[in-house]
Structures are given as structure tokens and as C-alpha cells.
Amino acid sequence: MIELRDLRKAFNQGRPNEFWAIRGVSLSLEANRVTVFKGPSGSGKTTLLSMIGCLARPTEGRILFEDRLLSGLPERFLTEVRRRTFGFIFQQFNLIKGLSVLENVMLPGYPLGGPRHALEAGARDLLAQFGLADKARYRVEWLSGGEAQRTAICRALINGPRVLIADEPTANLDTALSRDFMRIVGELKAAGKTVLLTSHDPEVYDAPQVDRVIEMRDGRVE
């Protein structure tokens, strides 16, 4: 489904502080699987997922999604792909403070310009699915860690993406909530989603829902 060919990524290229975060990664990621990228801090996990999810561009190499080249697309098309294909769950959740749970979940749907009632109905369905129906009007600052993460999951799913990307999803959760998260991952996989995770949490990479663990170090796959 997703193919990476000799991917490289440099920060501050050409400057004295030039740093190569990814140093030649070639991989094939299958559809409808849960894949975990494991490795110490600075191994390039987050950078790799950012490039797969079209959040950043590779310095060299190619990314293909179902044989379609993503890495060379202009920004407008890349955004369209990111919008419809990928859903992101960030380590810090990155919900917008001051907005309600419902508004945060609906945000990715705004650029699509669809009817508001349909977008709101879809968001409420997702919130109900994840047990947050009664929290729709709550400000996100009032949520617990688990509730915030489930809100982030709903936001990631609002546009019906095929691939879900989660960066260190359990970093701010206790063991119980981490297991709960992995249970949700299993349900998403059962619903036909492809899930890509980064983690150095054993509750994640040792979970039964995980199909494949890829170890990374110093920007390379081991």
C-alpha cells in the first residue's frame, strides 16, 4: 500500500548545523495492518511518519501510495491527499484550546466545504462511538488525558481516512488507558484502517493487535 524508496531527510541543509534525520529508508507497508516504528529518541520515527503522512517533504527518495507518487506532488494536491487519506493523532494531541470537543473534531472537515449539518452529524456519531457524546460542548482544556486522546482520534477519523498515523500515542497515558488505546486500534483495524504508530512503550509494540514492528536507529531501519 505504502512504499518508501531510499528515503532521506535533512534539516538545515547546507548550514553548519545540517542534520540527516533519515538516512536511506526503503520499506513496503501493507494495507489493513498495524505497524509500530520502535526505537530510541532521535532515531527518526516521527520524521518518517511525518513524511509518510505528507506533513513534510523528503530531501531525497520517493513515497508511493498505492503506486501513486506522493512525494513530488505540489502542496495543494498533497494537502488534498493528506486530508482524505491520512488521519493524525499527535503525541501532545494538539487540540486547539478554547474550542469545544465538537469544534475540534469538525476542524479537518472545514476546508472540504460540505454542508454543516452533515459534518456536525458525522462528528457527533464519532463522539458517540468513542463515548464522548455528552462532552461535545466541553472545552478541550476540561478533558482528562484519555478523553483528550479519544477526541484526537475522532478528529483524525472525521474525513474517513484509510490510514491512521499516531505518534507516541501513549506517552501521556497510564497503563490502563494505553491498553484501552490499543483496543481502539484493534477496532480500527477491524474496520479496514491501516494504522501506523511510533512508540517506545512495550504496552504498544508488544500488544497483540500489532502485526509488525520495525526497529529504527540513527535514521535507518535495523
Binding site: F88, N94, L107, Y110, P111, G113, G114, N159
Partner: protein
């Protein structure tokens, strides 16, 4: 609803909630911005209304007023000049006017004494303006005594007060009979203060004035349009003085607004990164910021302008009245006719709304075009 329109609605929705989330900053900015617009609009509306009033009042004035000049100073004009003016084609009506100034030491004010062409008061009576009545505490039936040019006191009974609607031009006016006027100022029969001439065709006014200047070289014709231009210049000059005085405040606001509009806080940068990460395009982010600038500036403009309108036309421009109307003992009380100059409105709009809106877009560009990954790190 078209997709594009719905998209703009979503952007405006998000922008409004974004503005409300930074209430203190935006409220302060809106207040200062509104104040600046209010001040500028008040000055514009007031001076425009005064000019408009002057045009309206002068519409009844004669097209040409002919004054006799001696050694560069205004002197009395003989009645025989009226007969000589009869030779000039284009002059429709001509008449001699009797008017003059009188300084009343009791209230330290100057009055204008005038003999009206029709319905002059009876001998020994006067019709006075509301400003004089207020200054001297006079009512109908009261007597007022002034010393004439021969040193003799002369009394007048107040027969009537001039209508308060005409106070703009009649506040300091005293209407008297011809006999009283000539006796009071010592002006013999056959002499007038100046001559009033009507010209039927407005396009002939300048030509008639030229002919008069040739026919009567010791006179100067004053055209009604020249009087209007003088009023225009006076009010424009005063308007300019106020603007110059305000320039410090306006510049301070420009710096303040630019700083607020062009600076992006860490929180705002983070939000932009999140928006891009969840699928917003660079264009969506820029449009959102455009709406933010437009909403703030449009709101400030509307609030400022409406408040200025109320201030000028309902509160008599209390803040600027003394500067723009001038100082006088006999200050007329009058109600200005609400009037708006479209060009001034458009100019104010362009120079307040447009720069601020642009100022919010320019700094957002760099944040909006960077990879969301970079922005979020």
C-alpha cells in the same frame, strides 16, 4: 450552497471563535482602532456638514456683491452707481444694501446691523438674533440702548426674535429700519454699504463681474462662489489643523496595530501548524487571517463611523465644536443637517480598513507556507 461559500462560512466561523479566544488583545485593539476612526470621521463629518450648510445658506445670497474700495479698504458706495450698472447686460436685479458692525462693550461682542430689503421693522423697533438675546438677556418687548456714531444713545424696542432655525447666520443679527440705521451710523441718504446684484445666467457671472470692474474701477465685485470657496478653505484649514494635532495619535495607532497584526504568538504559530496538519491548505490559513483582519477593521470602522455620526449630528460634535466652528461670544446654536460625503467615506475606509487587513496577511505567509511538521516542532 456552493462549496466555496460554505468554506468561507467555516473560515469566518473559526476566525470569530479565534478572535473571542484572544478577547483581551482584540478588545483593546478594537477599542483603539474604533477611537481613531471615530475621531477622524467626526472631523470629516462635521466639516463636511458645515460646508454643506454654508452652501445651503449662501444659495439665497446674491450672485455678485459690489463693494467700493478706497485705498484698499471697503468704503460706502454712492446710489448713482446703481444707475450706471443698468448698462451692464446680464444683471437681472440690483439694489443697495445697508449693513454694518457694531461693537457692544457690555458683552464684548460684535453685532451685524442690517436693513432688510423687505418687511423692515418700524422706526424705534428691532428684530434681533437669538445669540444677542441670550447674551444680553433680552426678550420681546424689552428695550436696548446703544450709543451711535454721534455719541447719542438710541433705544430700540425688541419687536421679535429671529427664528432659531436660522441661528447659524442670524445669531448676531439686528434688523432695523433705514432711518435708524442711517442716523445710528451717520450714513447720509444716497450712500449704501454695498450693492447686491443678481445675474440670471450662472455662466455669465464672471463676465458680468469683469464688466463691472471695468465700468467702475474703484469697486470690487465679490462672487458668491468666491465666498463659498473662502468658507471651504477656512473649514478645510481648520480640519487640517485638527488632523495635524491628531497625527501623533494616528501614528501611535499605526505602530500599535502593525505590531498586533503582524506579530504571531507561539500559540498562533502552533495553531497554524495544527490546522495544516489536519488538512488545511496554505490558502485556507491565509484566508482565515484575511477574515480576521477584515472583521476587526470593518467592525472598528462601522462602530467608529456610526458613533461619529451620532456624535456630530445628535451631540452637536461636542468634542470638536470649539476648534472647528471657531470662538465667539455669540455662539450660534444650530442643528446640522445630516450629510455624508461619499468620497470622504471611501477615503477613510480605504486608509483604515485596507492597511490593517494587509498587515494581518503579510506575516502569516511565512508561517502558512512552511511544512506543518516544521511549524509544530
Amino acid at each position: 450552497m456552493p462549496t466555496w461559500l460554505q468554506r468561507q462560512k467555516y473560515l469566518i466561523d473559526f476566525t470569530l471563535s479565534s478572535l473571542l479566544r484572544r478577547r483581551a488583545k482584540n478588545a483593546g485593539l478594537l477599542l483603539v482602532y474604533t477611537l481613531i476612526v471615530f475621531v477622524l470621521a467626526s472631523v470629516m463629518l462635521f466639516t463636511h456638514a458645515l460646508r454643506h450648510e454654508a452652501v445651503h445658506v449662501l444659495a439665497q445670497a446674491p450672485e455678485i456683491v459690489l463693494q467700493r474700495m478706497v485705498a484698499g479698504r471697503h468704503d460706502l458706495v454712492p446710489a448713482t452707481y446703481l444707475d450706471r450698472i443698468g448698462e451692464v447686460r446680464g444683471v437681472h436685479k440690483k439694489s443697495g444694501r445697508l449693513w454694518g458692525y457694531f461693537y457692544d462693550p457690555a458683552v464684548k461682542a460684535n453685532y451685524t446691523l442690517l436693513v432688510p430689503p423687505t418687511d423692515a421693522p418700524a422706526g424705534g423697533e428691532a428684530v434681533i438674533g437669538a445669540g444677542i438675546a441670550r447674551a444680553r438677556g433680552l426678550a420681546v418687548g424689552d428695550f436696548v440702548t446703544w450709543r451711535g456714531s454721534d455719541g447719542q444713545p438710541r433705544s430700540l424696542r425688541v419687536a421679535r426674535l429671529l427664528d432659531s432655525d436660522s441661528e447659524l447666520v442670524s445669531s448676531d443679527l439686528v434688523l432695523v429700519s433705514e432711518d435708524f440705521f442711517r442716523g445710528f451710523f451717520g450714513i447720509p441718504a444716497g450712500q449704501y454699504t454695498d450693492l447686491a446684484l443678481s445675474v440670471r445666467n450662472p455662466r455669465e457671472v464672471r463676465k458680468v463681474a469683469e464688466k463691472l470692474a471695468l465700468l467702475l474701477p474703484d469697486t470690487r465685485p465679490i462672487l458668491r462662489e468666491e465666498i463659498l470657496r473662502t468658507y471651504d478653505a477656512v473649514f478645510a484649514w481648520r480640519q487640517g489643523i485638527v488632523y495635524v494635532l491628531l497625527i501623533g495619535a494616528v501614528l501611535a495607532f499605526v505602530v500599535f496595530a502593525w505590531d498586533k497584526a503582524s506579530g504571531l504568538s507561539a500559540e498562533e504559530r502552533r495553531e497554524i501548524g495544527i490546522l495544516k496538519a489536519v488538512g488545511w491548505e496554505t490558502g485556507d490559513v491565509i484566508r482565515m487571517k484575511f477574515w480576521e483582519g477584515a472583521i476587526v477593521s470593518l467592525t472598528a470602522f462601522l462602530l467608529g463611523y456610526v458613533t461619529a455620526y451620532a456624535h456630530v449630528f445628535f451631540a452637536d460634535a461636542a468634542l470638536f465644536e470649539p476648534v472647528l466652528k471657531g470662538w465667539a461670544v455669540l455662539y450660534p446654536h444650530f442643528q446640522l443637517t445630516p450629510t455624508i460625503d461619499g468620497l470622504q467615506l471611501a477615503t477613510l475606509f480605504f486608509f483604515t480598513v485596507f492597511p490593517y487587513t494587509v498587515a494581518t496577511i503579510v506575516p502569516i505567509w511565512r508561517a502558512a507556507i512552511t511544512d506543518p511538521d516544521t511549524v509544530m516542532r
